[in-house]
């Protein structure tokens, strides 16, 4: 297991302009090794909060602590090694003339020796299956591949905590599931993963805890099952539970007993009680 830090955002305030406050007292704790879904409407402050967690943005008020230390006192290189941020749009993150050079940027920036840089790059090219396009320009690749390269570029730093900002937007379900399975695997190795998404089916499938944002604050946290049972939160963040959760909630007032939030779990649970009758 790797050692993953605890991250804590305390009363963060931030405005892109004085009249446009994006964060209004946001609090959030990310425990080492957890898989957190960060949800809420566009403009509720999800990305702004995430960018504070790795020091990309500095709060007007409040602070972010990494294992108890205020991050503004930490060197950027240490932050970059601990916390990786994958941008919503891969094109905001890719600058180099080739995939290989792109992957070398982070390690070089951290001051690693050329042979260490080379080791990191080769390892990641291989684990992401990118060897055949190592010399291609990121701009010439399909969206799905640019997404992959943008994640591979962060992976070269081997961060303990991953901040994923709508990583599956623009991907089909097959590619999205592969990508998320990769992060589920990293999570079992002890990495923390924070997933910003509008896709509640992904949240239910991968996240063990959900933080709901509305108007620049975290207005509720809890396991998905609990969050989806709170009409106040669903209303505040305009969230719609996935169909299977809706079905289970409807069944709760009937004689039918089913549990679970995913198709697989609900299916198992229903059959456990009814298989004999139906078989």
């Amino acid at each position: 297991m790797i050692r993953t830090p605890r991250l804590e955002a305390i009363d963060l305030w931030y405005g892109y302009a004085p009249e446009r406050l994006a964060l209004r007292g946001a609090d959030l704790v990310i425990e080492p090794g957890e898989f957190l879904g960060l949800v809420g409407q566009n403009g509720s402050g999800k990305s702004t909060l995430a960018k504070h967690l790795n020091g990309l943005l500095r709060p007007a008020r409040g602070q972010v602590r990494l294992d108890g230390e205020e991050i503004s006192s930490l060197p950027t290189s240490r932050l970059a090694r601990q916390i990786g941020y994958v941008f919503q749009n891969p094109d905001h993150q890719l600058f180099s003339p080739s995939v290989e050079q792109e992957l070398g940027l982070g390690p070089r920036y951290l001051g690693l020796t050329p042979s260490e840089v080379e080791d990191h790059v080769q390892r990641v090219l291989q684990s992401f299956g990118l060897q055949s396009i190592a010399q291609r320009g990121p701009g010439t690749l399909s969206f799905g591949l640019r997404r992959k390269v943008s994640i591979a570029a962060v992976a070269t730093l081997q961060p303990a905590v991953w901040l994923l900002d709508e990583p599956t937007t623009g991907l089909d379900w097959g590619s999205a599931a592969l990508l998320m399975d990769h992060f589920a695997e990293l999570n079992t190795q002890g990495h923390s993963v924070i997933l910003i998404t509008h896709d509640m089916r992904l949240v239910v499938r991968y996240a063990s805890r959900v933080a709901v944002m509305s108007e620049g604050r975290v207005v509720g946290t809890g396991p998905p099952a609990e969050i989806f049972r709170r009409p106040d939160l669903l209303q505040a963040a305009r969230l719609k539970p996935p169909p299977i959760v809706e079905l289970l909630q409807r069944l709760a007032s009937t004689d039918v007993e089913v549990e679970g939030l995913t198709v697989a779990a609900a299916c198992r649970s229903f059959l456990a009680r009814h298989r004999e009758k139906l078989g």
Binding site: N42, A266, C267
Partner: protein, 285 residues
């Protein structure tokens, strides 16, 4: 029913490097869009969905070059012989990211941009803009800056700026992909309203949305249409969809799981209401 759009055995390859063999992105697509239909088009990334969309107003191949075989006929017009500007008054295309389409500083100017370029009289432009903004529910937003609107509102401005050209055919290329749930609902509601007067091709990864909305669903894979039928017919084939990289509606996935485990087709429901009913009956039996 008469077809407004007729695609016959369409093959297309983007321009290849000198000496390289063409890579066919569309490989023998046949498609008909009939008056008043909403047709859902799904497919993994790279399947050719957007290329097909661009072929419907002639941008492919007129703007892109490359090699083309077969034909696209829009309301009787061959797309190779009529300029994109002319075809665009018949087929309006809306893309995923509205911001990338905005050029003007007010909603009104944005929506008026197309008709102004057609050289229409001022009074008619005014009338059309008023109508289009009302159609998408944004009359109050006329003087605002598109950049200050929410994602759903921006997408509705983009749709208004297409409606204003009065096309009978609308092609919406993943219009909800970058929207939050609220914006998605806004845009889907709008599509529901527009269906009475338009023929709509809706490209999306959201099978749950197509279930209650589309008359037909087509699935494109490597440039070929590999599945076609009404939404429940197509979405019942849960495993096949999975192989194609697509996610079926969750309720159908649930029915499929139950049936697979039971080894028999016991449950056939396509929405939450039907599922509640079917499961209660099973419980009572």
């Amino acid at each position: 029913m008469t077809s407004l759009v007729e695609v016959r055995d369409l093959w297309y390859a983007y321009p290849a490097l000198a000496g390289a063999a063409p890579e066919w992105v569309l490989r023998g697509v046949n498609l008909q869009l009939r008056i008043g239909e909403v047709v859902g088009l799904m497919g993994a990334t790279g399947a050719g969905k957007s290329t097909l969309a661009l072929a419907l107003n002639g941008s492919v191949p007129q703007s892109t070059g490359g090699q083309v075989r077969g034909e696209v006929v829009i309301e009787g017009l061959d797309s190779k012989r009529h300029p994109v500007a002319e075809l665009a008054t018949r087929v309006g295309i809306v893309f995923q990211d509205p911001e990338t389409q905005f050029l003007q500083t007010t909603v009104e100017a944005e929506v008026a941009f197309g008709p102004e370029n057609l050289g229409l009289p001022v009074a008619e432009i005014e009338q059309r803009v008023t109508w289009a903004l009302r159609a998408v529910g944004l009359s109050e937003f006329r003087n605002l800056t598109p950049a200050h609107l929410s994602g759903g509102e921006q997408q509705r401005v983009a749709i208004a700026s297409i409606l204003v050209m009065r096309p009978r055919i609308l092609v919406l290329d993943e219009p909800t992909a970058s929207l939050d749930p609220r914006g998605t609902v806004e845009v889907l509601e709008l599509i529901r309203m527009l269906r009475s007067e338009h023929t709509i091709l809706l490209i999306t990864q959201d099978s749950d949305a197509l279930l209650g909305l589309a008359d037909r669903v087509l699935v494109l894979d490597h440039g070929q249409i590999v599945m076609e039928g009404n939404p429940s017919q197509v979405f019942e084939q849960v495993e096949r969809l999975g192989e194609l990289g697509l996610r079926p509606p969750e309720i159908l996935e649930f029915a499929h799981c139950l049936n697979r485990e039971l080894g028999a087709s016991v449950f056939r429901f396509t929405d939450v209401e039907q599922a509640v009913e079917a499961l209660r009956q099973a419980e009572a039996a």
